[in-house]
């Protein structure tokens, strides 16, 4: 074991002097994660959304939309509201980019809604704020759906032979009771939304696991460098077991991988506000991910003829596994074969494991993903070790 540590210590010293290794292990993943988050993540959407409201109705339905729906969102800091007098004014504000979208509550909205006639609630969006416009449409659609459910509740409560001339006060009470009733079925998304990584965590995590497959190559492929440089003969002539040379290289890869990923986890938490989850669970996933990555790169190195070939093939494997594992986009959402195939990559299990840790889950939530990656590591290590024995022959 002493020889393993001596060889790993020498290799680590060499890697630390290699600026490209530091670039690959730390700088690139962090910079790319930051850029991806900036372009594709929640940071890319300006908050709060700026909306204008044009109330041409001034009836109870419009009043409820303004006070019960929009005012609540404004209080939560999701939207910022301003009032416009006319639809034209609101349209000019949207065109000028002063607001992201405008809600137009047309005259007669309340009367039409209460009398069971068709009514509409308009949304004017700015072409420069598609996301904010989509959100505005969703808010309006959600309110319209609620109105429809109230209308259905009233219709269900009235006797079949009811008098159409029901007193307005009685009708209003019925509507209020229907609206205030607890929703009979509430959809709680515990399988996906609660386990979905926010963009400030997803991108650092995906870049960390993606670049891990390049970082750990530095340790394993140095065995091929030693062979081509002649130093392997010298190591084999030294009074140390042959396997210690191989283990020293693998240990170097594991140390580099764990160290670089740990630094990325901490740096992204501080610089980007990433929420990685339970530290022990994250630690388990990182170690298992590093072992899986080392196993894969060792396998690639065992079939390559030299370090350059190992680097090229390793890069191809890393990119393919990364794409399939969903580090650039959530390929599992495509469904079907792609979703199933993604489970054949350590990347997908790493990200899935981090998702399981979201929402305050304990380290046990990461066990399935950890186990999957360890199985991946066991298989690839076993094949690689059998093949790498040949590399140890001069």
């Amino acid at each position: 074991m002493r020889a393993v540590l001596i060889i790993a210590g020498k290799d680590l010293r060499q890697r630390l002097r290699d600026r490209s290794a530091i670039l690959m292990a730390l700088v690139l993943p962090l910079v790319l994660a930051f850029l991806f988050n900036l372009v594709f993540g929640s940071a890319a959407v300006p908050r709060p959304f700026r909306y204008a409201v044009v109330d041409l109705d001034r009836g109870p339905i419009a009043q409820a939309f303004r006070t019960d729906v929009l005012a609540d969102l404004e209080r939560d800091g999701v939207v910022k509201l301003r009032t416009s007098a006319t639809e034209d004014e609101a349209r000019q504000l949207a065109d000028a980019g002063t607001v992201d979208a405008a809600f137009v509550l047309p005259a007669g909205l309340s009367a039409a809604a209460q009398s069971g006639q068709s009514a509409h609630l308009d949304v004017i969006g700015s072409v420069d704020a598609p996301t904010a416009t989509d959100v505005a449409r969703s808010i309006a659609a959600s309110y319209a759906a609620e109105l429809t459910s109230v209308r259905l509740a009233i219709a269900a409560a009235l006797p079949e032979d009811h008098d159409d001339r029901m007193p307005p006060q009685q009708l209003a009470d019925l509507a209020a009771r229907a609206a205030a009733a607890t929703q009979p079925v509430v959809v709680q998304d515990t399988s996906a939304a609660a386990k979905l990584l926010d963009s400030a965590t997803f991108f650092p995590a995906s870049m960390a696991v993606f670049f891990l497959f390049f970082t750990v190559q530095l340790g394993v492929s140095s065995l091929l460098d030693e062979r081509s440089g002649g130093t392997l003969r010298r190591l084999l002539a030294a009074p140390v077991p042959q396997w210690s040379v191989l283990l020293g290289k693998l240990l170097t890869s594991v140390i580099i991988g764990v160290a670089s990923t740990s630094v990325l986890v901490m740096a992204s938490a501080v610089l980007m506000g990433s929420h990685w989850g339970d530290p022990l669970g994250v630690g388990m996933l990182v170690v298992a991910g590093v072992l899986a990555a080392t196993g894969v790169t060792a396998l690639v190195a065992s079939v390559a003829g030299n370090a350059e070939q190992a680097g090229s093939w390793g890069a191809v494997v890393a990119v393919l596994l990364g794409l399939l594992g969903g580090v650039f986009f959530p390929i599992a959402q495509v469904g079907g074969l792609a979703a199933t195939a993604s489970l054949l990559t350590p990347h997908a299990w790493f990200l899935r494991g981090l998702g399981e840790l979201q929402g305050g889950a304990g380290p046990q939530a990461a066990l399935p993903a950890t186990g999957a990656m360890l199985a991946f590591a066991a298989v690839t290590f076993a094949i690689a070790l059998l093949r790498l024995g040949k590399v140890l022959r001069p």
Partner: protein, 328 residues
Amino acid sequence: MTTSSTAVPAQAASTGDTAVLLCRKLRKAYGDLVAVHDLSLRIADGETYGLLGPNGAGKTTAISMVAGVLEPDTGEIAIAGEPVTVRDARTKRHIGYVPQEIAVYPDLSARENLRFFARLYGMSRAEVRARTEDVLATIGLRERAGELVGKYSGGMQRRLNIGIGLLHRPRLLILDEPTVGVDPQSRRAILDSVEALSAEGMAVLYTTHYMEEAERLCDRIGVLDEGRLIAEGTVRELTSLVGESDQVHVAAAGNLEAAARAVRDLPGVRQATVRPDGIDVIDADARSGLARLLATVAATGASIRSVSVEEPDLEAVFLHLTGKSLRE
């Protein structure tokens, strides 16, 4: 002196022989190509043994087996009475191995290189420090010990390459063509170092295809050709194989094959070999037969540019034994 490997009195490790190195009937093949045939060697304490042969003769394969880097197909090796195998790490502490290529880490300093290998050979922290500084002084790199080796000249890297082999004071130092590609100054320094180590009592196994080095350094020389040890002995013993003959080199142009055929028929001529620039002749008495020899060459139409007569050397021995030049 022997002229075949089977005549070497090699013995197994268990016989209690006190030789530093004993090899018996080593054989290594790569597919159909047999790189080393039944090689037997014996090297005593303080002896410098040269393994002489052209490129591809099997020298590196032979010493790779002796160094415990390569497993022989058959045969036995013992260092200081202990059997050597690839997997037996213990015995390797007796061996200092200097590969033919410069096997150092260019992105570490000379001091870091030496300390790494010193630790690998199991030295204590204090020993590592002391031996590193000793070796740096021996190889003349103390002043630049902190610089990255990648910035060194080829000669300095060669010296470090040898220094690593000396770190743990081995019983047997194996040097595989240590002067290939070095400048004359570094070459001289390397040869001086080997002589000094030998004087200190270290056994040295030295492979080379430079006959001058073998003649200068080696107490005994084994001549290797196509994986076979075809002769072994001191320089004097080996040159005596050629007899009391002279080596004549006739630099000439023209039909050299016809000239060589004609020369071979002359009395006293033992061998005539065509070279690109003339003919090499081994003659029992060149002094009295030189005029006749030159006349014979001229009679074939060849134009003679110059002629030289030398006492036989290892080149002549190799030529005599194989019909080939060492540098072919």
